[in-house]
């Protein structure tokens, strides 16, 4: 399921399967779920009967039987094309599901009972609460929490990401997913889902389309298409007696042809394919949506709540500069900074040493010291050396309090330097030796590449971005400005996120957010679109309506665009389908009545050769437009952010105006092609 594998969209096998499926879907019991196409099928049955008994309803005409047979054949193709569109869309999911199922089928588990006895069983016999042990090379048999051990896990079966991740007990990296493989050491896992309800099961059901329910917008659109079908049926049914009054006996097969041309078969045939393909596009981004509704809601997003760290910035703060305060020299600060970071294994600590080396400072070795770990209470770390010197680094207020407590004084220019760093969007850490404040280390957080443009794009389509960060307001403001987000919440706590979401929702806005920690779960549930990171806790994943398998929070931006693209594609093909009717009227109506009222020739705007050729050309156009639009339905309409009014104008030009003009050209071309053939057949 890696990105590369996904690119091979249509394999031979897939198409083969889809063709088979499109025949299977002809079953009326299946067809009735798509009422527009069901009407076509009824028409098909009617013309099929009339092909062999052309006089059944008293129709008369030259070579009527072969004409009816042609109509029947085209209707049959129309049905197959529509079925094929759906089958192709489903097929891609099925292939993914098959490989996942294979993983699931072969899974074995080693259950550990209360006494520590191990027992090998089949994975599908596991229950919630069972404890299993998984050793290197084995597959984790179900979703669970690590209760003992530390191991690296290869999650590529689910995420497609081959780099193993570390799983350990407690914290945000304790949840494991069934179907992933332990590559080193071992884990003791408490199973948290019943067999059949695991993440893997859900994912299989999802990509297979088994659990696909129609989204609210799809249901509404379907209702509309049915209503349009009814309107056109009224037109057709009443036309027969009215034409009789006017002295024209319209052949039943022609009436069926006119009806099939007028009812929205194009969108009717492609609607479910558009929906499935939309979900599929999300899946190919390695995001699992729990429902199509969630993808659709993405299109409506007004506000995005983004964590600064990890989403907007890379998150690992790097030492960028040493700033002396008071009368200290630069080298004194560097020296102090190095000494309090000798035992610091955090990325920040390492970056201090790295920067110091770059600045020409040697890293002393062999010194004896006692390292002081960072704790939530002291909010600083450092080391006490044998010679009695103690070095500390930490947040400005923590160090100041520490120094004052030791009887030291605060240099007058400290605050100025600290604020300067904050203003630049950096994080200032203050370094002290004993009771003397030495200087400030400037940590810089870098904004992810391309994000500034992305936010500008979002603003163009009216989406507001709000950044959440634990930083102080000054730092937050600088980063916010640099990244180009519309608002920020500094020093934010998890409950602040919920408050912001609720406030935005109260103004009628649709809110999206990403999160990973357990404390994000309530906010993920409150947001209209919540995307949890796969690396996150189970609680977060359950509360969200999407899970990002790559745990890349920036992806929320792509998902929103996919949601919009899905809706645009649906609207564009509906508009196109309806706009097509104009040309079809002008092909068929004169053709029907021209024998009785020769003056109607002026309405034959396309100059179609014969009445039969006109009707069949319109019908053929109506059929082949479906497979022609399958690629568009699958890929989605090209999406470029712009204001809604420009977007409407742009799409109306292509799909509205284009939808009016295209069939005029298409029908004329088909007429040119088929009229000699029809002449040979004597129709």
């Amino acid at each position: 399921m890696s990105q590369k594998k996904q690119k091979t969209v249509l394999t031979k096998g897939l198409i083969h399967e889809a063709v088979l499926d499109s025949f299977k879907k002809l079953n009326p019991a299946v067809m009735i779920k798509n009422p527009v196409m069901f009407v076509v099928e009824v028409g098909f049955a009617l013309t099929l009967v009339l092909s062999f008994m052309p006089g059944l309803f008293g129709d008369v005409g030259h070579n009527l039987s072969s004409y009816n047979l042609l109509v029947t054949f085209i209707l049959f193709l129309t049905l197959l094309f529509a079925n094929f569109a759906e089958a192709v869309a489903e097929g891609r999911g099925k292939a993914q599901a098959a490989s996942l199922k294979q993983t699931q089928k072969d899974m074995k588990a080693t259950r550990v009972d209360a006494e520590g006895q191990e027992e090998a069983i089949n994975a599908n016999l596991l229950h919630k609460g069972d404890v299993v042990i998984v050793r290197a090379g084995e597959i984790i048999p179900g979703d669970g929490e690590v209760i003992e051990g530390l191991a690296s896990v290869d999650e590529s079966a689910i995420t497609g990401e081959s780099a193993p991740v570390i799983k350990e007990t407690g914290g945000d990296f304790s949840s494991v997913t069934g179907g992933t493989t332990v590559t080193s050491d071992w884990l003791k896992i408490e199973i948290t889902s019943e067999s059949g309800e695991s993440f893997l099961d859900k994912m299989i059901a999802l990509v297979e389309g088994a659990s696909r329910q129609k989204t609210p917008n799809e249901i509404a659109l379907n209702t509309l298409l049915i209503s349009l079908t009814i309107i056109f049926m009224v037109v057709i049914v009443t036309l027969y007696p009215i034409a009789l009054y006017s002295g024209v006996r319209i052949q039943i097969s022609t009436l069926v042809a006119l009806m099939v041309c007028l009812i929205p078969t194009t969108i009717g045939g492609l609607l479910s394919a558009i929906g499935i393909a939309g979900m599929d596009r999300v899946t190919r981004f390695n995001v699992i949506a729990t429902s199509g509704k969630a993808v659709e809601a993405c299109g409506d997003v007004d506000t995005m709540i983004l964590d600064k760290t990890g989403t907007i910035t890379y998150g690992n703060r790097m030492a960028n500069a040493f700033i002396p305060v008071g009368r200290n020299s630069k080298s004194e600060v560097v020296n102090a900074a190095v000494r309090c970071s000798l035992s610091d294994s955090t990325p920040e600590g390492k970056s201090i040493l790295k920067l110091a080396q770059e600045e020409g400072q040697d890293i002393p070795t062999g010194l004896k010291y006692e390292s002081i770990e960072f704790t939530a209470q002291t909010r600083m770390s450092g080391a006490d050396f044998e010679n009695g010197e103690s070095y500390r680094k930490g947040a400005s207020d923590a160090i100041c309090a520490y120094v004052i407590q030791q009887g030291g004084i605060i240099p007058a220019d400290l605050e100025e330097h600290v604020n300067a760093v904050s203003k630049l969007g950096g994080t200032p850490l203050v370094v002290c030796r004993n009771q003397q404040i030495m200087g400030v280390i400037y940590f810089k957080d870098t904004i992810k590449e391309g994000l500034v443009d992305r936010f500008a794009r979002l603003r163009q389509i009216g989406i507001k971005t709000i950044m959440c960060t634990g930083d102080n307001p000054l730092t937050a403001a600088t980063i916010a400005q640099e990244a180009g987000v519309d608002g920020f919440i500094a020093e934010s706590k998890p409950e602040d996120k919920i408050a912001v979401i609720k406030k935005e929702q109260a103004q009628g806005k649709v809110v999206a957010m990403t999160g990973d920690g357990t404390n994000d779960a309530p906010a993920l549930a409150q947001a209209n679109v919540g995307i949890a990171m796969n690396s996150g806790t189970i609680a977060a994943k359950e509360a969200a309506n999407m899970v990002d398998l790559d745990s890349n929070p920036t992806k929320i931006l792509d998902v929103v665009e996919i949601g919009k693209q899905l809706l645009i594609t649906r609207g564009a093909l509906t508009t196109f389908s309806i706009a097509n009717d104009l040309a079809k009227y002008f092909a068929i109506i004169p053709a029907i009545f021209i024998t009785a009222i020769p003056q109607l020739q002026v309405l034959n705007a396309m100059g179609l050769s014969t009445p039969s050729s006109a009707i069949l050309s319109a019908l053929i156009f109506n059929a082949i437009i479906i497979p022609c639009l399958i690629p568009l339905a699958m890929k989605g309409v090209h999406y470029k952010p712009m204001s809604s009014n420009r977007m409407l104008r742009h799409n109306m030009m292509i799909f509205g105006l284009g939808g009016i003009l295209a069939p005029f050209i298409g029908i004329k071309l088909i007429d040119l092609g088929i009229s000699p053939l029809l002449a040979l057949l004597g129709i």
Binding site: N217, I230, L567
Partner: protein, 564 residues
């Protein structure tokens, strides 16, 4: 040409301030006339026991149906016994059952299809108590529903309002005073208003002629103002006592247009975003423009096609240069007759000053199309409601193309609204086409046709289009006072009026309860030219082309055969 511009100019000059006044009445904001009307209304409310209680959409629909049904029954009874009632100077006999059925429905539904000749079939009491009374109340009912619908769509009101209160306020503040004003002006221009019996005079040639008299001006005022259209006389506004001159013709046209136009303007005020919003950016401007385009198309088509003479009259001793004067009044000529025909069908009034049966085929097509669309301003309130239904349809179809689920005026359009909108949109073609199909297969239907072939089809089509759109005019060539036509059009009128009104109320009720979603640059803008163009496309493809097959068999064939 200048006459057309004068009428359209007067329309704007009157509809815009009247629209603001209507808005003040709907929103219960202060108006200059409050000191007087408040007192009148308070008295009437106390008299009728009306309390200022909010009603939901079901209560409003229920009240509308109940009140209208009661009025229809009372009207029916009066028509059935008018023979023995007072104010019957000409001794008109009581009405036949199916005709009385058709007549009360016709006037209650604001249609005013008249399968009778007013001067001989109705007593003065019936004219006043049934006809004029129903003209006021049907107009007020339609307007009250429009007010409730507007409140629901705008989302600025806590409820849809109180139907009874709205009806009374519309009557006292709009219809009665304006009718009085128009009536007086009409009298000053020569329209009669008396209770005299029919006058019999000796003509210059020595023959005797009966000249019908009656309270014409009173009826004439509300007939046009309320987009009712039913004339005192069978000849309607072609009769010199109803419409004596070009001046009264203009007054009557403008009074037909005033309230339907004002409704759109009022809607604009209702949904105005803030005080700084310019009228160009207003939601109603687009609707007004789309309606205006369709109206001008109709005026141009009719005026142009009437200007060419009927080729069949060539060779007869008839001047071809003045155009098709058959069925027209000399005092109105081509311009005023064509304009009236376009306006009366666009604003679904149904008053006529020319014989529509004698219109050229393409003019007939245009009048038919106006009624088939039923949203080219349309009847008071109802035209706006129909337009809003098409707006919802457009928002749904085209709105998706901006990448958001559809919304209009800050309300999400979901499955429920789509279903209701679609249902309302099906009703109109169903009534017209099914009615026409029924008429052409039944001998009782066919026997009414006075011309065979395509013109006969147009006659039938016109009768049903007019009934379904609650217009009321006719291709009067049709012999329509038969049980079949009385009952069939009666049913179509009821369906055309109440089904779409109840559905519109249901949509308004549903929208009014929805939370308002916020608006951003990404939200579909429904106040732009682009949206107007999309709306026009949807109207043409779904509302107009639905009728293309029958129009081809009717007026289009007739035209092509005439000018072969």
């Amino acid at each position: 040409m200048i006459d057309i511009l004068i009428v359209l100019g007067l329309f704007l000059v009157i509809a815009i301030p009247l629209g603001k006044y209507l808005y003040h009445i709907t929103a219960k904001e202060k108006t200059f006339a409050d000191p007087l009307f408040d007192r009148v209304d308070r008295f009437l409310f106390r008299l009728c026991g009306i309390k200022d209680e909010a009603m939901n959409w079901k209560q409003i629909a229920g009240a509308l149906l109940l009140v209208n049904a009661t009025m229809m029954i009372l009207g029916f009874l009066i028509l059935k016994v008018q023979e023995v009632l007072p104010f019957n100077p000409n001794g008109s006999t009581s009405m036949e059952g199916s005709l009385a059925f058709n007549t009360v429905i016709s006037f209650m539904t604001n249609t005013n299809l008249q399968h009778y000749a007013g001067e001989s079939a109705l007593s003065n009491l019936s004219q006043m108590l049934v006809i004029v009374f129903l003209m006021f109340t049907s107009a007020a009912s339609g307007l009250a529903v429009a007010m409730a619908t507007m409140r629901g769509f705008s989302g600025k009101f806590s409820s849809l309002g109180n139907f009874y209160e709205d009806v009374i306020r519309i009557l006292t503040r709009v219809l009665l005073p304006l009718s009085l004003l128009i009536g007086v002006i009409l009298v000053s221009q020569g329209v009669i208003q008396n209770f005299s019996p029919t006058l019999t005079i000796q003509t210059l040639e020595g023959a005797y002629q009966n000249i019908a008299m009656g309270p014409v001006a009173a009826l004439e005022a509300i007939k046009n103002l309320g987009t009712n259209g039913g004339g005192f006389f069978a000849a309607n506004a072609a009769h010199p006592f109803e419409n004596p001159s070009v001046v009264t013709n203009i007054i009557e046209m403008v009074s037909m247009m005033a309230i339907p136009g004002a409704c759109v303007v009022a809607f604009g005020w209702m949904v105005r975003k803030n005080k700084r919003e310019s009228w160009l950016k207003n939601q109603a401007t687009v609707l007004f423009a789309v309606m205006g385009v369709l109206l001008i198309f109709s005026i141009v088509l009719i005026s142009w096609s009437e200007r060419s003479a009927n080729p069949l009259t060539q060779g007869l001793n008839i001047q071809q240069a003045i155009g098709n004067m058959e069925g027209k009044e000399i005092r109105f000529g081509i311009t005023h007759s064509s304009l009236f025909a376009a306006i009366t069908t666009a604003f679904t009034t149904g008053a006529v000053n020319t014989m529509h049966d004698s219109l050229m085929p393409l003019s007939g097509l245009s009048t038919l199309l106006n009624m088939m669309l039923n949203l080219v301003f349309g009847g008071k309130g109802v035209g706006l409601i129909n337009m809003l239904l098409y707006v919802l349809l457009t928002v749904f179809i085209c709105g998706l193309m901006v990448g958001r689920t559809p919304e209009y005026l800050g309300k999400k359009i979901e499955a429920k609204e789509t279903k209701l909108t679609a249902l309302a949109i099906i009703i109109h073609p169903l009534l017209i086409l099914a009615g026409t199909a029924l008429a052409v297969v039944l001998s009782v239907g066919l026997s009414g046709i006075s011309n065979p072939g395509s013109h006969g089809l147009s006659q039938i089509l016109y009768e049903f289009a007019s009934s379904a759109a609650n217009n009321g005019s006719g291709f009067e060539g049709l012999i329509d006072n038969t049980a079949f036509w009385n009952i069939a059009t009666g049913v179509v009128m009821v369906g055309g009026r109440y089904i779409s009104i109840v559905i519109a109320l249901a949509i308004a009720g549903s929208l009014s309860k929805k939370p308002v979603v916020s608006e951003s640059i990404g939200t579909l803008q429904t106040n732009t030219m682009t949206f107007g163009g999309s709306l026009l496309m949807i109207i043409v493809i779904i509302a107009a082309l639905t009728f293309l097959p029958v129009l081809v068999l009717g007026p289009i064939s007739e035209h092509l055969m005439l000018f072969r």
